[in-house]
């Protein structure tokens, strides 16, 4: 059996919980209507964020979308957030069914 899958891009953003709502509003405006969030902790250029309390906790946000939308979002967050917030983002291709959905 072979399944016919289609390619989409998975964009993962790891950032401060503090800006969750702000970020979701931006995503909505850019045309992202589906996403998944998990709570996370970590370490990076802005130090240890170990989720011991709200100030220093992270979220891990995933969006499956077209390559071009992923790039739009990525360059938006690069220009709006990278300078001032703990934030890391990356892309890679994934295969999905239901291409009309993403």
């Amino acid at each position: 059996m072979t399944l016919t899958t289609e390619k989409r891009t998975l964009l993962t953003i790891i950032t401060e919980s503090a800006i969750e709502e702000l970020l979701l509003k931006d995503l909505d405006k850019l045309g992202v209507h589906g996403y998944t969030i998990s709570d996370a902790r970590g370490r990076g250029g802005r130090g240890v964020r170990d989720a011991t309390w709200g100030e220093v906790s992270n979220i891990r946000l995933e969006v499956i979308c077209s390559r071009s939308l992923a790039e739009t979002v990525l360059s938006h967050i690069q220009s709006h957030y990278y300078d001032n917030y703990a934030m890391v983002a990356f892309l890679h291709d994934v295969e999905i069914l239901r291409p009309e959905k993403f």
Binding site: W53, G54, E55, Y81, N84
Partner: protein
Amino acid sequence: MIDIVILFFILGLSAGLLRSELRLPAALYETLSLVLLLAIGLKGGEGLAKQALAPLLPQLGIVVMLGIAQTFIAFFLLRVIGKLNRADAAATAAHYGSVSVATFAVATSWLFSRNIAFEPQLTIFLTVMEVPAIIVGIILARGLSKQTDWRALAHESFLGKGVTLLIGGMAIGWAAGPEGLMPIKGLFYDLFKGALALFLLEMGLIVARQAGELRRRGLFIIAFGLAMPLLSALLGAACGVAMGLSIGGITLLTTLAASASYIAVPATMRLAIPEANPALSLAAVLGVTFPFNILVGIPLYYWLAVKLSGLN
């Protein structure tokens, strides 16, 4: 004798500094802060039910001015003496112009255990003083910029968790009165000090985490973290005397003035002044001012209140 709740703070602080593996679950910390906020609100509301509210309006005007004045003073010190950049100075100033619920709770607990009464409107002052410093801080950072989303900000400020629970608790306490509150006193009154003890245990752990940042920042931030509450305390005490508050009331208003926010303000500043460094403000507020206030400040402010009200 040192208050029992303070001993829990010292335990948390020591455990944190010794790098013990002690952690409190995040849900416990949130639950404790929820219960404490509601309890403070309920108690305040219960008291307010017994008095007319209109005469309080001018007092509210005074405490709003007090918060604004503190923010300006702090900004001046941080910018001119501390040479901080504008964003950092404004954001940190907003913390000091606002208030700390935990510090307020420790002070009420200190007064209760010494049977010193205070006016119920202090809970309203606590609520009212949370917000003006935030607005002043943003204006100091940005000017009256069109960029600031004031609507979102008002929402953030007035419907944040702390203000919602304080106002909600006061409304319930006011509506229910002492009779109506009876059935829930088991949770909100009898367990108050135990909850505060556990909360301060966690606060000790959080404060210990500021040690590294403080070491990096050097002396100025420590000096500011000590001087600013003392300055604010003088202003606060003066306002308290001017309003004709009781000794307990003056002590609490002085404590409110001296205290600095570490929950509502950091969250709002993170969004409103993104380029300010939150670690800097928190190192001062949590690493210096909060422990100073609960360990040394409160008895000092009481002493000040006694002296000043003697002058009257």
